[in-house]
Subunit: 366 residues, 4 copies
Amino acid sequence: MAGSSVGQIFRITTWGESHGPALGVVVDGVPAGLPLKEEDIQVFLDRRKPGQSKFTTARAEADRVEILSGVFEGKTTGTPISLLVRNQDQHSKDYSNISEVFRPGHADYTFWEKYGIRDYRGGGRSSGRETIGRVAAGAIACKILQELGISIKTYTKSIGPVEISRIDLDEIDNNRLYMPDAEAAVRAQDYLEECMKDKNSSGGVIQCVVQGMPVGIGEPVFDKLDANLAKAMLSIGAVKGFEMGDGFAAAIGTGAENNDSFAVKDGKVCKETNHAGGVLGGMSDGDSLVFRVAVKPTPSISQKQHTVNVAGEETEIEIHGRHDPVIVPRAVVVVESMAAITIVDALFSNMSARMDALKDFYKKES
Amino acid sequence: MAGSSVGQIFRITTWGESHGPALGVVVDGVPAGLPLKEEDIQVFLDRRKPGQSKFTTARAEADRVEILSGVFEGKTTGTPISLLVRNQDQHSKDYSNISEVFRPGHADYTFWEKYGIRDYRGGGRSSGRETIGRVAAGAIACKILQELGISIKTYTKSIGPVEISRIDLDEIDNNRLYMPDAEAAVRAQDYLEECMKDKNSSGGVIQCVVQGMPVGIGEPVFDKLDANLAKAMLSIGAVKGFEMGDGFAAAIGTGAENNDSFAVKDGKVCKETNHAGGVLGGMSDGDSLVFRVAVKPTPSISQKQHTVNVAGEETEIEIHGRHDPVIVPRAVVVVESMAAITIVDALFSNMSARMDALKDFYKKES
Amino acid sequence: MAGSSVGQIFRITTWGESHGPALGVVVDGVPAGLPLKEEDIQVFLDRRKPGQSKFTTARAEADRVEILSGVFEGKTTGTPISLLVRNQDQHSKDYSNISEVFRPGHADYTFWEKYGIRDYRGGGRSSGRETIGRVAAGAIACKILQELGISIKTYTKSIGPVEISRIDLDEIDNNRLYMPDAEAAVRAQDYLEECMKDKNSSGGVIQCVVQGMPVGIGEPVFDKLDANLAKAMLSIGAVKGFEMGDGFAAAIGTGAENNDSFAVKDGKVCKETNHAGGVLGGMSDGDSLVFRVAVKPTPSISQKQHTVNVAGEETEIEIHGRHDPVIVPRAVVVVESMAAITIVDALFSNMSARMDALKDFYKKES
Amino acid sequence: MAGSSVGQIFRITTWGESHGPALGVVVDGVPAGLPLKEEDIQVFLDRRKPGQSKFTTARAEADRVEILSGVFEGKTTGTPISLLVRNQDQHSKDYSNISEVFRPGHADYTFWEKYGIRDYRGGGRSSGRETIGRVAAGAIACKILQELGISIKTYTKSIGPVEISRIDLDEIDNNRLYMPDAEAAVRAQDYLEECMKDKNSSGGVIQCVVQGMPVGIGEPVFDKLDANLAKAMLSIGAVKGFEMGDGFAAAIGTGAENNDSFAVKDGKVCKETNHAGGVLGGMSDGDSLVFRVAVKPTPSISQKQHTVNVAGEETEIEIHGRHDPVIVPRAVVVVESMAAITIVDALFSNMSARMDALKDFYKKES
């Protein structure tokens, strides 16, 4: 169980290493009849593509996706969709110096101990390139959500100590850090320049907001919507924390502050506040889902670091080559993709929750 | 998929409502030959039992567990272990006034919308009593870990604004808040008294530390150890956030600060610091696992709150009856249980990771 | 992974040994709003109850089922349903002589080797009593199917060499062998009398027919409807074979004989014959599902048999006590239950197969 | 849940249509350190390749496999192995006449009804070409089994009415029907010639024998080894029946005939006969696994057949083009592959069955 699949009904399986021939994903459980073309997926992949700014690696990957199955005459057929992205720029030689040494903050040591073998070229399976499959699948999940009137907005909330002070959704795509605050984006860029000068790197926080959720999505015990979102987020390489709604702030506050009163608006039940982040008892409450993830600083820094080699000897390492000083901007679309994948699966699981809806569903068939 | 199971190889399935006849769990995948008696499980259940202090509900449940299967002559047989706890104290009348009204911060509304029906007596399936099954299963998981030399310590890190300033593990069981800092425990109790006077409640943070982990436990992509821990934690009713190692603090810091250097100690590879919280690339790195969860304040408060009833009309609610002003102390053992359950499953999944170990394993058999 | 669960969305988990305190099942994924009372389940359990004729064991179990969760005011709530049956008649002493010896045709030896420990009292987990959980869950599955207009008829097709020559569904419940042919039932009873005189036992074949299936149920590759039915059937203790439609007879015939022509009847597509047994490409084709299972003879016979004991020495065994000379009649309801469980899960999985139906489903919600 | 994955720990996910760009499989859970090269897989694919005799289709596919991930320097790394086979010979025009008509015995109608859309070119996902992914994965599973001393032999037992009367394993690869009886192979070829003259086709039976199994593999309840084998076999397109050991013959016989006595040979427990087919209580008993599958006749025959079109009108169809008169020979390697995949998964699941073995396993790690 290398654990390369996630989801019960809408299930994705990713594969591929950073320096192997290719990476990809198989997306199973896509409903038939969804219009889908390669361009729909490419748009998502381009959001995570390297080489977009001086804060992202210069690696000149085209990262062109190919649909190998599951689509016929422009529509999904209900069969698994296999998506392939070839690796084109494989500077294997760049990694010769790290093949024998465990990089601090990387999975080199744990891979080595678990498997007794390791594709040391650029991180192998634990490379950021592994997210290509997630994002390609996320593009499909987002298309399904769109058809159901559900939309997702994801953006950078902070980079290092620089936090946004306003949320202007139109601004997100205007700056390369995907911040919804133009002024904060400028300050964050300055901060990143400093980090680079210091041969250092920065972490940050990503926020995701999902609008248009039906009520009751998520299962009440282990498959709570927020539990599966938490898993999806922590499964992203550099993520170290997850908060739903007020998150850790709720732990400091009181019940009177944290409870969201119910009200009626336009004949529909709604909440007056959204400290809960759109879930109650693990099920969506009709309000926006709001969650945040903490992204650690890029572990590959060019400062000299103390470490150990495969022979078990202490040594020093200086990591050169192409490395983003911050993971956050490129992780924005990964967070969005994993959110979409998780929500689609929850929507599908929910369909047999009620006997009356079940009877209606199968009555139409006959 | 009501989602009442978790785990792949070590899999638990919980069932039961707060005011039904009983609650319980089926634990599948327990290795044969583990010594197990009801007392082993009872000890764990007693840690989450109500009525232990004035900050926990006065509900006088005995919560005696019965082993119904899977144990023979004091040892597990490899077959599923069914554990049963009868509900004895069912004050159904207490809940008549909330049967038609959605309590803020509770799952009443989402249950109602998802299922069109609701066991309104005391929260039903989303009651804190649902955790009885988790804790009973957790007792078994902890016994397995103990046999493998892995130990877990879980404690209250903060209650509302009151945070511990020292960690004295021997102190944990000396105060009813399970804080490893006697002085902070006193201040926290004072704070809770205030909350109760104000008809209010408090949140808090729980920290969990796991020692003795082998290296390489967890799968590198979706089934990362921290991803599955995050899911396990967010699946607990009142949990709103999860942090591995430095968590959100890592998002503010730099790579040079956050990377843990490797070193060699007593001939073994180790890390000089543990910002990572004991996982690298989703696999345990041999250091202690360290994570925290944010627990929201008890939503049941006796202040008057604005809400909506099942007829869709706005109304007021005052929640009376037995409610803890803080969930944290009773959730400590739930966090520990879910951690143990997650780790045992990861340990089992890991066994087929290497061809050499696999061959060794089956050579012995023949 | 003791493998005590089956199903993806409608998932059952059974537990319990023949001579432990109790047996039971947790049924997860039951839609909310299904009317359900203990009597609905008891009717099914009574069909597998021992002591109904001289061909079934005299063990005087009441086998009364208790619903412990998931039902409120006579309706399912969507939460897991826990069902419990206490073992009342535990003649542990009967089994003392077999505790050290491996019975031929039983799982004694394999349990012993796999687990290094064994509950030797009456077969433990591999006892026929394990099917109590399956049948209790099957009763719920059948109720769901009934609501959707799907009905199942299961009957004995042959006992040893005695085969039915007509199918009179009204006759099934008139004889204790559940044969739809009164005359064959008499001959089969005579044959069983002979077997008993010879301290021997008999096998037989059970046939199951499901009517009212919508078209397209089952998934096209690994989760074919017939594949999951085959697994469900072979998971029943004594079953050694499975045939869908013509089964092994199809292997002898030709394509022209085996293909079912399509036609139109009452404006609906139908098949002129049903050699396929109601599935094409693993999906239901709207015709009746027809399948058969081969049940081996009861392995517990009172003839002297050659065997080996736990010390690895050859020895003789004579098995006394209460044993049916044929498993078939009591397995009829088990086959029906496992069929229903499998079909319900397939119906639920199918709900997200089409984008148009998905949009319709969630439009109603909003 | 298009159901394109099978296995819990060793899990394969297949994808691809007969006339799309490619087909393939992702194999997850392969232990690290297994020597693997494309040639290992190609050998298996060549066994199912068309165009090998006049009884198999003339379609000139090269079916060259490409390893896209999971292998580094000639060894598996523990990460998912993605295998790709391009479709080269796509005669889409051949299928224009069947795009509007449901072929008897095919999945055309059920696909159409389930998904409302259909890739009508050559069967799409329900084409025999779907088995390419299974066989490629099977090659890897067989390599793992080989390392553990487990070997599989699969052969044609009968074609239509022609059955083998001897088993000469060396003969299997000498004739194109994979029969272990040269004389029967000649008669079977004559029979197939007759079928072809009559524009007809034939079914047949495949037998599989697995040697070297450890005792205790398989889980005692729903994941019985034979239950999972039955599912694996019925998931192959044309398979209509499954028998373990004596199978349906056991249903006719008596307990005295069917029970296998235990004995001791060379200090090891063994069985004097193998009516059980190597499983007792769903767990391997150390004897050879023996099972058979019934394969239906090729449904594509060039005789005129009565059917219905997508407009719901009755019509006639004559199917031309490249179609084997018998599926059996090409299905032999598919049966072997699915058996290997199932057994490997069962071997992995079994590793945590015993506390003593578990402690030994993790003691070595520390």
